[in-house]
Symmetry: C2
Subunit: 269 residues, 2 copies
């Protein structure tokens, strides 16, 4: 089901700035038993993105009502939220434009082989690099051509692709965040102040590690570090946690910590 | 008037990748006396962008017929063309997606004060910087948040804003390209291999300068060079050529060369 500004419809005006300039933000949530997972954190990131782009805030109470309704219609699956700056006069200037467009879309969760969660995935190294743009880093806006280019590089032999920036730092997967477990047991994940999307499941993992009494370093990560790692894993709101089984001709085990984190994710459902 | 895939409508599916990821390209053309100006060059850039994104080419003969029709409806004004990758399954992967969506939109030209062309404009220096992304430089795709952020910085006291990259090179205006006339009479315009949009009017100016027997250097331009310039001007397909009257507390004259270039643009009509 799709709703545009509260009306069941899949039609958006072609004058909407979401289309014209990618002038908007979005979230993808897992819905289980009629509940959107980690909703508050998703709404927080949505709000952060709207502030970064100086887009008017939606009526949050109305949006929450619509989310409730959508999760009543689709009790298990995927909920996509999108807020754009709406339609305005021609030209980049956002300042005459007030209000926004809200889009909710529910869909079935396309089941992926359970083996990815159990045994891990094959991770591709993408040649596409991410540009450094601190003004647009961290939140989930609609300018996503870098992800499209990176994802186009690999086929079904791989389940995800790793993307670096032009300085050779590892940033993230095309649709997920990366965590590295070092041989001394410490964990780190790339800093995303210059590029990348700070995933909601990434946030949950960082908090869960803290709950476990483990620190997660958030810092610049060189690609060469991955060869020295004990384990690697990728996270997003729909897949949860995928261990990396194989990357760059190297295989990695799945240590107990990853099972503990997967169990924590299960409690969200 | 708006046509989506040849049908008079302003409705686009919210599942279109043009909205979801900015996965498409566009052109804005001036229409005079029923003719789209510099159409071949616009279609060439459109095609270059489609190739860069590996989006299926549209039926060009059909698109040309639709352009003819649109310019018959709107004999004087603005024609906007947009080609997106169309709708596909959820996720960044573009490879299952075949075909595309074409959008044509005509509108009146919003007249700007003739003084901008005659006497020049005030040019703002934007704090927003452009990220370097060679994979997306030069052509006109739908990921335009940097332009939105830059344009939001200045109000009606200025007619255009100048944008640099993070290395301090001058790249372009928010909606136009920059040319610099040096005191020795030589002309240059910033290289756009790492960021920026290579405008069609920029191409026309470079060719016209060659016709005049003048070379235009295309190279990296430091911001500090602008203070030493004899003259500055901005170009795009709708405004033609605007001399810069004032930039960064400095005023610039309008040398005869700019009048000659404006006269050459007039011959397009």
């Amino acid at each position: 089901m799709i709703w545009v500004n509260g009306v069941a419809s899949d039609c958006l005006s072609v004058t909407d700035r979401g289309l014209l300039y990618g002038d908007g933000v979005w979230e993808t949530l897992a819905v289980t038993q009629g509940q959107p997972q980690l909703l508050e954190w998703h709404l927080e990131r949505l709000q952060q993105g709207l502030r970064a782009l100086a887009i008017d805030q939606p009526d949050w109470a109305m949006l929450r009502t619509e989310i409730d309704h959508a999760c009543h219609v689709q009790v298990s699956g995927v909920l996509k939220l999108m807020i754009t700056r709406g339609s305005g006069s021609r030209g980049y200037n956002p300042n005459p434009v007030r209000g926004n467009t809200r889009i909710l879309q529910t869909s079935d969760y396309t089941a992926v082989p359970a083996g990815y969660t159990e045994n891990g995935i094959r991770l591709f190294l993408c040649a596409t690099r991410l540009a450094q743009q601190p003004r647009l880093a961290g939140f989930k806006h609609l300018n996503r051509l870098e992800q499209v280019l990176a994802r186009a590089e690999f086929g079904n032999d791989y389940q995800e692709g790793l993307v670096c920036d032009y300085q050779g730092h590892v940033i993230e997967g095309t649709m997920s965040n990366l965590f590295i477990v070092h041989k001394d047991g410490s964990v780190c994940t790339p800093d995303l102040h210059l590029c990348g999307i700070a995933g909601i499941m990434r946030r949950f993992i960082i908090q869960t590690l803290a709950d476990f009494g483990l620190r997660c370093d958030i810092r610049a990560v060189a690609l060469t570090e991955l060869a020295q790692a004990q384990a690697l894993f990728m996270t997003n709101s729909l897949i949860g946690l995928w261990p990396v089984r194989e990357f760059s001709n190297q295989t990695y085990p799945v240590p107990p910590l990853l099972r503990d984190l997967q169990a924590a994710i299960q409690t969200l459902q």
